[in-house]
């Protein structure tokens, strides 16, 4: 038995390893988004629309992060402005 186990475990592993790694990433992502309030994507859109009135940024420049603590919730807003700030022409 011991010997067989040795032989079997020393084989190159198949696709199960890939499955496990993919699942770990996917499930971590699912869990992170699960607890967020459902208004978050809409909020992000609207904030972006407001910012774009003044600065030329795209979607990827705005990130909204939600975290839940024991007694409080944190909404973290990150906006990366382009190097040279271009104001929209009126």
């Amino acid at each position: 038995m011991g010997l067989l186990d040795y032989f079997l475990s020393s084989r190159p592993k198949g696709s199960a390893n890939v499955a496990k790694e993919r699942l770990q990433i996917l499930v971590a992502h699912d869990r992170a988004t699960r607890d967020q309030p459902s208004y978050l994507p809409q909020l992000q859109q609207e904030i972006l629309a407001v910012i774009r009135k003044y600065v030329d940024v795209d979607m990827s420049a705005v990130s909204v992060n939600y975290e839940q603590g024991d007694s409080h919730e944190i909404l973290e807003l990150n906006i990366i402005l382009p190097d040279a700030v271009h104001h929209h022409q009126a």
Binding site: R11, S15, A16, N17, A19, K20, L23, D30, R34
Partner: protein, 269 residues
């Protein structure tokens, strides 16, 4: 008061109905007064797996709508006196399952049963959420396969946020993992996620591992819950599962390929 157990999964076809039938029969055989309810409105199957399809007169929705009372709709199992089946409707829309209606039926059944087993439909829509809403315990049926594991995790999220216990801030639903259609040989070959892999991802208490087994189809062909096939690996695995659910410490079986398989494979080269 009865304990309400939901058999759920998210993904379809993973073995919920097979499990519901086995669990209900197993509990009843151990003297527990048990009723198993089919929540799969429009696609009822439990009556077939239980072998009572020709005795269906009224169904769950008839009871909810007041068109029949519970005693008219419940089907007593011919093999086991403690067991009743409440079939789903084949014709109605799943929206006929109202929260109030479901609650009323569960409350009434609670008075004279020990366990109520709810066979959930697939998905995360209305039928599935109604099946799990009032649960005390949840058995999450999972196959060792990426989409099933992912869906199980999503279902866990729903259990912990959208159930009665969650909404009322009560003690959460007790969640258990049941891994089914497990093929130890493929696991050894690295082709299939192992029990440990799935547990690592879902981190749930493992209630059992049911091997991929020919006995499941054979049993369903003749309307006999597979747990009654005591010779079969799946039947024994389900029987162990029932013991564990009732609190016995039973070692897991069928996790490794049969020794014969090992040797013959070795000699074949």
């Amino acid at each position: 008061m009865a304990r309400i157990i939901v058999i759920t999964s998210g993904k379809g076809g993973v073995g919920k109905t097979t499990t519901s039938a086995a669990l209900a029969m197993g509990l009843a055989q151990r003297g527990k007064r048990t009723v198993v309810i089919d929540f799969d409105v429009g696609l009822r199957n439990l009556d077939l797996i239980m072998g009572c399809e020709r005795r269906v007169v009224y169904d769950f929705i008839n009871v909810i709508n007041g068109e029949a009372n519970l005693n008219q709709a419940l089907i007593r199992d011919k093999r086991c006196d403690n067991l009743y089946v409440l079939p789903a409707s084949q014709t109605r829309d799943k929206d006929a399952l109202t929260k109030e209606g479901v609650e009323q039926v569960l409350v009434e059944l609670s008075h004279n049963h020990d366990f109520i087993v709810c066979d959930s439909p697939a998905g995360i829509e209305h039928g599935a959420t109604m099946a799990m809403y009032f649960a005390d315990d949840a058995i999450v049926v999972t196959n060792p396969e990426v989409s099933s594991v992912r869906d199980s995790d999503r279902m866990l999220g729903i259990l912990s946020s959208r159930s009665r216990r969650a909404e009322n801030n009560e003690e959460p639903i007790r969640e258990y993992l049941l891994l089914t259609r497990y093929d130890p040989l493929r696991v050894v070959n690295g082709e299939m996620l192992s029990v440990e892999d799935v547990q690592e991802i879902l981190s749930l208490k493992l209630l059992g591992v049911v091997p991929e087994s020919k006995a499941v189809l054979t049993s369903s062909n003749s309307g006999i819950p597979v747990i009654l096939d005591r010779e079969s690996d799946a039947g024994q695995a389900y029987s162990d599962m029932v013991s564990r659910y009732l609190g016995d410490e039973v070692p897991h079986r069928f996790l490794h390929p049969e020794k014969k398989g090992f040797l013959s494979r070795l000699f074949r080269g």
